[in-house]
């Protein structure tokens, strides 16, 4: 029998019933008395000065109640305090097509929409920058005046160990270039916010956000309203995946329009706007040099990345560091150098998407390991097992490793898929591939420097035995409300369905930093456990007195507190609550969690990468390639994931399967690509989310390493499992057709190109991917060819030349 009564059971999520009966209230489902409807005017230019912005005709339109523009909210804001470079609505200049410029509130949505066309705006076009190469070279065009070198947003260089010595001692060095195309979250729920400024001079904002606390801070800054008078309520997010973790223009606009009108204001984005709001996966060019001994032991890695950040910072400073930080936590790397550059371009800002900044390098590195295994004649699964970073160790970049289940994941996959027997044996057109990965269970540092907890929770037990858990964590579909209820229920000996959860509310719940970086289970889970154990102590003391049993012999389960040796003598949970309240007064406890010190280094840039515990995962993909049409069919993806302990196995499997699905979409089709600054496919039909007919069979294998610091041993499960799926599929395609895809996505066109069948004169290729960066070798013609190899380069040839246009 399990030592737990809740943990490890496949119980329905506590919020399932609201979802399944249509009772869940997402932001756009809120309708308040006297509510106005807002719409945003968005830039039609990728890079332009706003010469004139005149809202008088729109303001005079019947039914329009208020209009705000960038000038009304000029304060700089942004998610990372050190790189705040945007305003709620554009001020003086626009930097991407789709950037919000003005907002209208009207009596209904049709009226607000009509009024947008009555706003008079004149642009003076500036030359746009669309590619990484242009951004690095063009000193004469500045997207942000603050950039010191061309359009570089951030440049980082970190070096650990003896890199030269490492390469010198290598028997074999691989030097490979990769390109990971940008893509976007595409949650089915579009962003939506409802603001209500009351007669009490307090603002309430209901919004689909992953980060109510960070948004709270930015609202204070931009609106000039004390935070004590602002309440942010994160409504259930209808999917987020990182796409709702920035403060967005529509949230500020709804708030200010409500302040101006003293009426509730709702702004809901339409689907096209969501594609332009973006903040998704950065396009990244990578160069990876890896030295190995004859047996495959790594002697040195030099990793370089160039990130296309789009027009604003977003989380870009963290993304840049993340591309280099986590390569070291999976396999032993004794010498490591990381160079990263993120540039500005005139496209929607990139930000965090599931796997934040680690997905792109993991793709490149795991594809390169596959090549190394092939070069050395090693089995790619056994090879990875042989070079694992050990548990309870430090990486070369000073990251603390605790529990480490990658070896168990690889073993489980070997058994489930018979990878080693089948690799190279499936015949032309069919293949099997493998890759490993790791992710963080929450960032080790908050985004703004402070000594306070990363997560807080309060639990109240009422006289009827009711339990309310309050925590700032945002429910984004990942199951955080259920996690909070489950951890509290396990500690108190009740069931999750007994617990009322109040989450994501800055007034009613203690701060949790937000649902990003897969931090909630580990951090909010520990905070709730901390609070619950304090109340449990009070209940046990009361029960001990009543039963005459020593406290240390008592357990709590199924609404009873009892001695397992004499289970029929018990105090019910409700009776214990009455006894404890009689003795101690109102039963409320607070708990909090902060990561331990010393989990990372102390060098500049050491703040990104540390976490209290890394999750580990590996995937095996099985594919078929149609040699005539170039169609890539992924038959099956099996993912093994070390989540520490599965608090609810059904939900952990759901996260693993959902991650595999999302990774699959990224490698086979999804791309956030532009032509002249216009999104080429800003609709769910053209962007091509995988449907039920496309999605491969997905198998999830849960591996439990029981982390010593996680709540009941748990680590993250929401993001890591995406990472290995992408390189596993690329490696399987190589096994099938002998072509290395060193760029994503792997489309039928590229496969046909590689097979030499795109036209009749084609010559088969062994590799599709970039072979350098333009400004590295000083050959402009070669640079041009390389530029053309990128999607954006191909497109810019066909696009009309940018030039002055006026309205």
């Amino acid at each position: 029998m399990s030592e737990f009564s809740v943990i490890g059971r496949r119980l329905p999520k506590v919020n399932s019933w609201a979802h399944l009966t249509g009772q869940a209230r997402y932001a756009d489902d809120l309708f308040l008395p006297r509510m106005l409807y807002g719409r945003l005017l968005r830039s039609t230019r990728p890079h332009a000065r706003i010469r004139r912005l005149d809202v008088s005709r729109a303001a005079a339109h019947p039914g329009v109640v208020a209009i705000v523009t960038g000038a009304d909210m000029p304060a700089k804001m942004g998610i990372m305090p050190s790189t705040q470079d945007e305003t709620a609505l554009a001020v003086d200049k626009v930097r991407y097509v789709g950037e919000p410029v003005a907002a209208v509130a009207a009596v209904d949505e049709d009226t607000a929409f009509d009024a947008l066309s009555l706003i008079d705006i004149d642009y003076e076009d500036l030359e746009p920058i669309f590619t990484i190469e242009e951004a690095l070279e063009r000193e004469d065009v500045k997207i942000h005046d603050e950039s010191k070198r061309a359009n570089v947003f951030k440049e980082v260089h970190l070096s650990f160990g003896d890199l030269d010595g490492g390469f010198a001692s290598a028997d074999h060095v691989r030097d490979d270039w990769f390109f990971f195309e940008g893509n976007t979250h595409a949650p089915i729920e579009s962003h939506s916010a409802v603001a209500s400024y009351g007669g009490d001079d307090k603002l309430t904002l209901w919004t689909a956000t992953q980060v109510p606390h960070y948004l709270h801070r930015e609202l204070e800054k931009v609106l000039g309203l004390p935070r004590s008078r602002i309440r942010v309520i994160a409504t259930p997010n209808g999917g987020a995946f990182g796409g709702k973790s920035d403060p967005f223009g529509h949230e500020f606009a709804a708030a200010l329009l409500s302040i101006r009108t003293r009426r509730p204001v709702k702004i809901t984005l339409d689907r096209e706007e969501v594609f332009y709001a973006h903040r998704g996966r950065h396009p990244v060019k990578m160069r990876i040099r890896t030295g190995v001994k004859k047996d495959g032991e790594i002697t040195a890695v030099h990793y370089q990345s160039w990130l296309d950040g789009g027009a604003y910072a977003s989380y870009g400073i963290a993304t840049t560091y993340y591309t280099g930080a986590l390569l070291t936590v999976t396999y032993r790397i004794p010498a490591y150098k990381f160079d990263g550059v993120r540039v500005y371009t005139n496209k929607p800002p990139c930000g965090p998407k599931r796997g934040h900044g680690t997905t792109q390098p993991r793709y490149g590195f795991e594809c390169q390991l596959d090549k190394i295994a092939q070069d050395l004649g090693l089995d790619a699964l056994e090879y990875r097992k042989r070079i694992l970073q050990p548990p309870q160790s430090r990486t070369i970049n000073e990251l603390r490793i605790t529990s480490m289940g990658l070896g168990d994941c690889l073993d489980a996959l070997g058994r489930a898929t018979r990878y080693s027997e089948r690799h190279g044996q499936l015949g032309r057109g069919r293949g099997i591939g493998i890759a490993g990965s790791a992710y963080i269970s929450g960032a080790g540092l908050p985004i703004y420097w402070n000594e306070m907890p990363h997560s807080g929770a309060e639990i109240r037990i009422d006289r009827g035995g009711g339990v309310t858990v309050m925590c700032g964590a945002a429910e984004i579909g990942q199951g955080s409300d259920n996690m909070l209820a489950s951890v509290a229920a396990e500690a108190l000996g009740i069931l999750p369905s007994d617990v009322h959860v109040v989450s994501g509310d800055t007034s009613l719940a203690p701060v949790d930093l937000g649902s990003y970086s897969s931090r909630v289970t580990f951090m909010a889970g520990n905070a709730v456990k901390d609070a619950a154990m304090k109340l449990r102590a009070l209940l046990f003391a009361a029960a001990s007195e009543k039963l005459g049993t020593p406290v240390d012999r008592l357990v709590a389960a199924y609404h009873r507190i009892y001695d397992p040796l004499d289970p029929e003598t018990f105090v019910t949970f409700a009776d214990a609550a009455v006894l404890a309240e009689s003795k101690h007064g109102t039963l409320v406890a607070a708990g909090s969690y902060k990561p331990p010190k010393g989990i990372g280094g102390s060098f500049k840039g050491a703040g990104v990468g540390p976490t209290p515990a890394y999750s580990y995962q590996a995937a095996v993909a099985e594919v078929s390639v149609d040699l005539e049409t170039g169609t890539l069919i992924v038959d099956k993806v099996t993912t093994a994931h070390d989540c520490g302990r599965a608090l609810n196995p059904a939900n952990v499997e759901g996260q693993i399967e959902g991650s595999a699905y999302m990774g699959y979409g990224e490698i086979i089709a999804e791309e956030q690509v532009f032509r002249g600054g216009l999104h080429k496919k800003p609709s769910l039909l053209d962007y091509k989310l995988p449907t039920s007919l496309d999605t491969p069979a997905l198998e999830a294998i849960v591996v439990e390493s029981v982390d010593a610091e996680g709540p009941f041993g748990a680590k993250e499960a929401g993001e890591g499992p995406l990472n290995p799926v992408i390189p596993a599929i690329a490696n399987a395609v190589y096994d099938a057709i002998g072509v290395r895809f060193d760029e994503t996505p792997i489309t039928p066109e590229k496969i046909l190109d590689a097979l030499g069948k795109r036209d009749n004169r084609g010559i088969p290729k062994t590799r599709i991917g970039p072979d350098g960066l333009a400004d590295r070798d000083g050959d402009p013609k070669r640079a041009r060819r390389r530029l053309d190899a990128s999607t954006e380069g191909r497109d810019s040839r066909g696009a009309p030349p940018p030039g002055p246009r006026s309205t």
Binding site: D28, G239, L684
Partner: protein, 157 residues
């Protein structure tokens, strides 16, 4: 904002309801904004995602592409009409047990598509399920748990 609202009578979840609505407003808008049936979701309003799926005379339709005036006296069923009084539909129970709703946003449309399938085909094959929900995008689950839930509900019905 000259109002051109017209009276529309719909039969939704067994109730006859008459509301005033703009004639160009879709069934989705009328359900959500005039009838307070916000369980039906919108993901694109272009007929691409399936989140707004409701049943009209038992057949799944995209309410974002349907004008109420074209429906006449047909029976409209939304997610709010799936349970019978206190009794949940077997699909709702199976979806909860299998974790087939993560964020829950595609769920109402997914449930309606699944109900139409099971009403017509009580023991569907995996391929029939895949086809029936192929117009309903889910960004969370990878569909695996949804298949399991529909299969489970089919066995119980």
């Amino acid at each position: 904002m000259t109002s051109t609202k017209e009276l529309i009578t719909l039969r939704v979840n067994g109730e006859r309801r008459t509301v005033a609505a703009e004639p160009h407003h879709t069934l989705l808008e009328v359900l959500r904004e005039e009838l307070d049936l916000t369980g039906t979701k919108h993901g694109c309003e272009l007929g691409e995602c399936g989140a707004c799926t409701v049943l009209v005379n038992g057949a799944p339709v995209l309410s974002c592409l349907t004008l109420p005036s074209l429906i006449g006296d047909a029976d409209v069923t939304t997610v709010e009409g799936l349970a019978t009084g206190e009794r949940l539909h077997p699909l709702q129970i199976a979806f909860a047990e299998e974790g087939a709703a993560q964020c829950g946003y595609c769920t109402p449309g997914m449930l309606m598509a699944a109900k139409a399938l099971l009403d017509a085909t009580p023991r569907p094959t995996h391929e029939q399920i895949a086809m029936a929900i192929s117009g309903n995008l889910c960004r969370c689950t990878g569909y695996t748990a949804i298949y399991e839930a529909i299969e489970k509900a089919a066995l119980r019905s």
